[in-house]
């Protein structure tokens, strides 16, 4: 099975910043691609998605569980069986994802959600 690509779809420069943070922490630079919806209507964002995903299987990491980033990602995934979508992207899930990309997109998506959720907590004062 080919390794998955992660495509982060976000408002403004959130995706770029997350890709940079993953590279800074892990040294892995070829697993993630960033897309911003800045200046995009639905057609332009769909084109950016197509270019970013390419031919291979992928997980699309979207910042919010609604809005233009999600609608574009969900429409893309609807027509591509080898693409899964995760919302609420955070750094913790991406750090886990880049080391676990030899599974099916749906499995990687579920794993990412678990890893991301575990990172959200209230710390002791």
């Amino acid at each position: 099975m080919s390794e998955l690509r992660g495509v982060i779809v976000s408002h403004a420069a959130v995706a770029d910043a997350l890709v940079a943070a993953v590279a800074a922490i892990t040294g892995i630079r070829d697993a993630l691609v960033a897309i911003s919806n800045e200046g995009c209507g639905n057609d332009a964002l769909a084109e950016r998605l197509r270019d970013a995903v390419g031919a291979g299987p992928a997980v699309l990491f979207v910042d919010l569980p609604g809005g233009s980033c999600l609608t574009s990602a969900a429409r893309y995934a609807k027509h591509h069986a080898d693409v899964a979508v995760v919302t609420g992207v955070n750094l913790a899930m991406l750090l886990d994802f880049v080391f676990h990309r030899d599974v099916a997109p749906a499995d990687a998506a579920r794993r990412a959600v678990d890893a991301g959720a575990k990172a959200i907590r209230v710390t002791a004062a």
Binding site: G39, G41, A44, G66, G67, T71
Partner: protein, 157 residues
């Protein structure tokens, strides 16, 4: 209260609408007028995902919107009416008597369009059509978020 915002935005329901406008206006319902979305449960579910549960989302065709516009205007709650394109805005204005303003919130780049504002791209024909709408008594301004200055039509066409 009634419909506080009539907006043309090709992204329809998204963050600027739900959070940017929805929070300061204390919006209780969003009317999305789009014939294609009205016919697709899948698309409707997708758009609903971006809206908190306390905000009602009403999906309407142009024909349905024309008949229910008065009802939404009389609603005691605050609402936003959204259309995704100029065709829909023109149809609504032509078929109803109640629309006196439209906010251009996002018409993005497409072949043949040129940049008028960071978030507004228009062909010359589309600019003319907006002017014709204004000529029918519809106040048209561009404003992506409430904190921005409403830009009169003459400044971007």
């Amino acid at each position: 209260m009634s419909l506080a915002l009539y907006r043309i935005d090709d992204r329809l329901i998204h963050g600027q609408v739900v959070v940017g406008w929805g929070q300061p206006l204390d919006v209780a319902f969003i009317v999305l007028v789009d014939d294609e979305v009205r016919e697709s449960e899948w698309e409707q579910d997708l758009y609903r995902m971006g809206v908190p549960p306390q905000i009602d989302v009403i999906f309407a065709s142009v024909a349905e919107a024309v008949t229910r516009l008065d009802e939404w205007e009389r609603d005691r709650r605050v609402g936003i009416l959204l259309v995704g394109d100029l065709d829909t805005a023109e149809a609504l204005v032509a078929q109803s008597n109640g629309i006196r303003r439209f906010n251009v919130g996002g018409i993005h780049h497409r072949a043949g369009r040129s940049e008028r504002l960071r978030y507004v791209y228009l062909t010359d024909d589309e600019a003319s059509r907006l002017k014709r709408l204004a000529g029918r008594g519809v106040e048209i301004t561009a404003q992506d978020v409430p904190s921005a200055r409403p830009i009169p039509l003459g400044e971007f066409t």
